[in-house]
Amino acid sequence: MKAFEYATAHSAASARDLAGSTGAYLAGGNDLLGLLKDYLVSANILVNIKSLPGLDKIESGDKTWTIGALVTVAQIENDAEIQKVFPGLHDAASEVASQQIRNVATVGGNLAQHSRCWYFRHRDTVCLKKNGDLCYARNGENRYHSLFTGNSCISPVVSSLATTFAALDATAIVLRNGKETRLSMAELYQRAWENPLAHNSLNPGDLILRVEIPTTRSRSAYLQASDKHAFDWALVSCAAAAEMDGGTMKSPRVALGSISPVPHQVEAANQFLDGKVLDDTIATQAADLILKDAKPLEHNAYKVPLAHALIRRTLLKLKGAA
């Protein structure tokens, strides 16, 4: 990797000042160090943000829970209250990478992580995402790629926490130009939908401070399917959340990961589910709606039935039946 300076910030504002527009924030470092070592990104300074006060806590509340950006994935996984209040979030956290990575990986880093597309990550290919002329995956080896995209790049979002936060309608609070800005998960990734060079909507210098989760939905679930049984990326991930009144769903939300540059959400499906009594037929119809506009490529068409099955299973899991 290229040489860089290193500094420790003790406040969010000083972190911002130290990083400027060409630095990078260092927390768990799982993604950043890999990107630096592979010369995929460069930073003139790494600003250690692990000492920022207050960002490593999970705080419960009647209406809203707050999860600091420095909370580790393992902290979420091991928090007994989270497991009760947001079981989907617990399950998503427990599927992330390996125990060793979960111990150091942070919520902020998980949300901000870059594309895993093997063309983007390859040292000797210059793809669209690296300012090149074409997406190699589109007509190439696209087994792990998106079914949906708003641009020419088909690299999917892989953060399983983002998928789950989307289903829980969580908000990311981002320090932007000295002010706290509130972004929904859709907004946090919107730019990746539009622009192949982006993997999220963060600007240089933006710092994720925390995530707020409303307690509106008392039921949540998360499932992912992978090639292997552990320590493997999701081929497709799915999260769902709702308030349940008897068997009737209120304010349901479904989101999928690894099939779009953004957590894939279809508002029509959420509306369809609202007020419905959950059963296999309803779940199937919701899955149909969610995947209606999928555009499978040569090697990723299997993700359509896979996603369909996961949507059904995740929804039925909300009932506690499956």
């Binding site: 007509n139 190439g140 292997k228 049984h229 552990a230 490529l297």
Partner: protein
């Protein structure tokens, strides 16, 4: 035939690895741990093009990078590059970062060629770019025929046809390839991660035009080798040149990225099989057409560095009428090297899949069908033992009849490995000291299988001592000659040699001390009578203590989620033989390893090449997937001890039948054949007819 003792205390029992403590405490120094005085890091600059003519390589800026002490080119002059990752130059310096910086400072002028081909089916096309100038990519077919296939097929009661394919499997031992090399005017010393210290010594001597006597190779501990670590390799020769230029030892261990590109792999196979049986289940006709790639090392008149891609067909079975046609296809990618049981796992997968498909068509139980056709009495015995132990009869249901979304299925497959009775030239010596301590010295290497331990076990048994009283030194070309560890031949080479050393030791002790029997309780008294000078006895391989041809069968139970396509292996039973069991726990460990490696081949591993750019897309464990502990099932091993056969190796047969057995269990579970390895969720869903057609091509 066997002269091995019976009523043993150690042989055929379990002795912990004698080098377990250093391995567990970390005091064991593996080749990649060696820190010779003043050593430097070495790194390789590789081609980023799949095809190019290198016009010039300018190392001057690399040499100016602070900390860099040497830089060399891989080959002088204008060089043709034939695959992505081929070695172009190397640097040595005082830190990893200095080397990384230097690699980026190397300036290469090249004529980049856009004509290349990295996948087999593209390379077979008439207008495909030629990997080797003036030579066809596809080799002339090798044809073997017996009986008359054309008249036999119409006589069959059932005939199946299938197309079974296997991917390129990349060598990924725990320790990558590499060496620390110190080359001075006095000679060359290499600490190598190798399976063959002697072949590495000869390789260095040949490449650098040195006397064999000037090259010493040391391998105290090494982290695994499966057929691709027999020579110094391009990385070893570059390390030597760097060492000479820098006048310092250079440690050049490959990275995982390097490892994926240029140190060998198992060739792919594309097997078109047509096979028929008579009404009583006797195999009657077999027609097999296979092609595969060994990378640049095959095809046309290339001569090849990696051998061809032929596999044994119809594998274990004798079919009275058969026609087999095979060819190798050259592609612009790293070449093949021997890989644990070369040819056998793909052959087993193809043939055993076809066996099950035909059994289903005949309406026969797959094990009964094998018992009917397998010519080996040992495997017959193993199938019967396995069937009983596994509960085959109770568990077997017709394909696809398992109810529910997650379906269970069972399958089996057999293995054969010729191997050899050992290298007849194997030698060794033991130094017996007056204090009763004894040290064995053999010029073999322990590649992690427990070779040191079996030497101690045999010596303890024959001398009436305890294994911990035996000091064992291997892995040094200064010791008497020993063979490379490949082809499951180390045990049959080493064991008779140790036997002979012990015989000679007892005889000479008797001669020198006058004590009739120096074993056991008499040992120390006898040694004391040696006076002040130790006794050094020599020994060599002798006949009658080892043999060849191991078998083995494996049974597998899987669960397949028919909605997500995920295959879970629930249980594997291996029934294996290797003649006289020397040490049960290291043997079981080796079979466990073979089975887990076979699982990787069955379910996860696959080299992925990109047609457009020609690069290898998965040079890491993120996307070149290997089994993890969560994937590994309950593995049960049943061993058949056959002391009367003498010692046989087990390395290869342990891994042969796993993939075929898993594939058959999957087919049995879901009622559809996934005929292509690895059996990924995507392929399972496709076999179930659940995958829609892709959208029309777009840009």
């Amino acid at each position: 035939m066997s002269n091995w003792p019976t009523d043993n205390k150690y042989i055929s029992h379990s002795t912990l690895r004698i080098d377990a403590p250093p391995k567990l405490t970390g005091s064991a120094r593996y080749s990649s741990d060696i820190q010779a005085d003043g050593w430097l890091y070495g790194m390789i600059y590789r081609s980023k093009w799949p095809s190019a003519k290198i016009l010039s390589v300018d190392l001057s800026k690399a040499l100016q990078v602070p900390g860099i002490k040497a830089a060399v080119v891989a080959r002088e002059g204008q060089v043709n590059i034939r695959y992505y990752g081929e070695e172009i130059a190397a640097v040595a310096g005082t830190s990893k970062q200095a080397c990384l910086d230097a690699l980026r400072a190397i300036e290469v002028k090249a004529e980049v060629r856009h004509e290349f081909v990295v996948n087999e089916d593209e390379a077979r096309k008439d207008n495909a770019p030629q990997v080797w100038d003036g030579a066809a990519n596809v080799s002339a077919p090798h044809v073997h025929e017996n009986g008359s296939v054309d008249t036999a097929f119409p006589e069959c009661a059932a005939v199946i046809e299938g197309f079974y394919t296997t991917p390129i499997q990349i060598h990924n031992p725990m320790e990558t390839h590499g060496n620390t090399v110190s080359w001075t005017d006095d000679g060359l010393t290499a600490w190598s991660s190798t399976q063959g210290i002697t072949s590495v010594r000869d390789g260095f001597a040949g490449a650098l035009q040195l006397d064999h006597s000037k090259v010493r190779v040391i391998t105290d501990f090494m982290g695994g080798g499966f057929g691709a670590k027999f020579g110094p390799g391009a990385e070893g020769v570059l390390a030597a040149k760097l060492s000479k230029q820098a006048q310092a030892p250079v440690r050049l261990m490959l990275t995982r990225f390097d490892q994926a590109l240029a140190v060998g792999n198992r060739p792919s196979s594309f097997q078109k099989i047509k096979m028929g049986a008579l009404a009583d289940g006797t195999l009657h006709a077999f027609e097999g057409e296979n092609y595969g790639t060994a990378g640049i090392g095959a095809g046309g008149d290339s001569g090849g560095g990696g051998g061809g891609a032929d596999i044994p067909m119809p594998y274990l079975y004798k079919v009275s009428n058969s026609r087999v046609k095979q060819s190798s296809v050259a592609v612009n990618a790293g070449s093949a090297r021997a890989f644990r049981a070369p040819g056998h796992p793909p052959a087993s997968f193809g043939m055993e899949s076809a066996m099950d498909d035909l059994a289903v068509k005949l309406g026969m139980d797959p094990v009964e069908f094998r018992l009917k056709n397998d010519p080996s009495p040992i495997r017959q015995r193993e199938y019967k033992i396995g069937m009983e132990k596994f509960g085959w009869k109770e568990k077997y249901e017709k394909p696809g009849s398992s109810p529910g979304v997650v379906k269970t299925g069972i399958g089996c497959a057999g293995a054969a490995w010729g191997g050899s009775r050992g290298d007849r030239n194997t030698q060794g010596e033991a130094q017996i000291n007056p204090d009763g301590s004894i040290e064995f010295r053999l010029g073999v290497q322990d590649i992690g299988t427990g070779t040191k331990t079996i030497i101690a076990v045999i010596a303890a048994e024959l001398l009436g001592l305890k294994p911990e009283q035996i000091t064992v030194r291997v892995g040094d070309t200064n010791f008497p000659y020993g063979p490379g560890s490949g082809g499951s031949t180390t045990s049959p080479s080493v064991s008779p040699t140790v036997f002979n050393i012990c015989q000679n030791a007892l005889q000479q002790l008797q001669t020198q001390t006058g004590l009739a029997d120096a074993r056991g309780d008499n040992w120390f008294a006898a040694c004391k009578k040696l006076g002040v000078s130790p006794l050094v006895v020599h020994g060599q391989w002798q006949q009658g203590l080892s043999t060849d041809h191991a078998c083995g069968v494996q049974f597998v139970q899987v669960s397949v989620d028919t909605e997500t396509g995920l295959v879970t292996v629930d249980k594997i039973l291996g029934v294996h033989d290797c003649g006289l069991i020397l040490n049960q726990n290291t043997l079981e460990s080796q079979i466990n390893g073979g089975i887990i490696m076979g699982m990787g081949y069955a379910l996860y591993e696959e080299r992925v090449m990109d047609d457009l750019s020609g690069v290898l897309l998965n040079p890491n464990f993120e996307t070149y997937k290997l089994p993890g502990i969560a994937d590994v099932p309950d593995i049960e091993i049943v061993l058949i001890n056959m002391p009367e056969r003498g010692v046989i190796g087990i390395g290869e047969p342990a891994t042969v039948s796993t993939a075929g057995a898993i594939a058959n269990a999957v087919a049995n579970a879901i009622g559809a054949r996934v005929s292509s390895l690895p059996i990924t969720p995507a392929k399972v869903l496709a076999a179930l007819g659940k995958v829609p057609s892709p959208s029309p091509a777009s840009t």
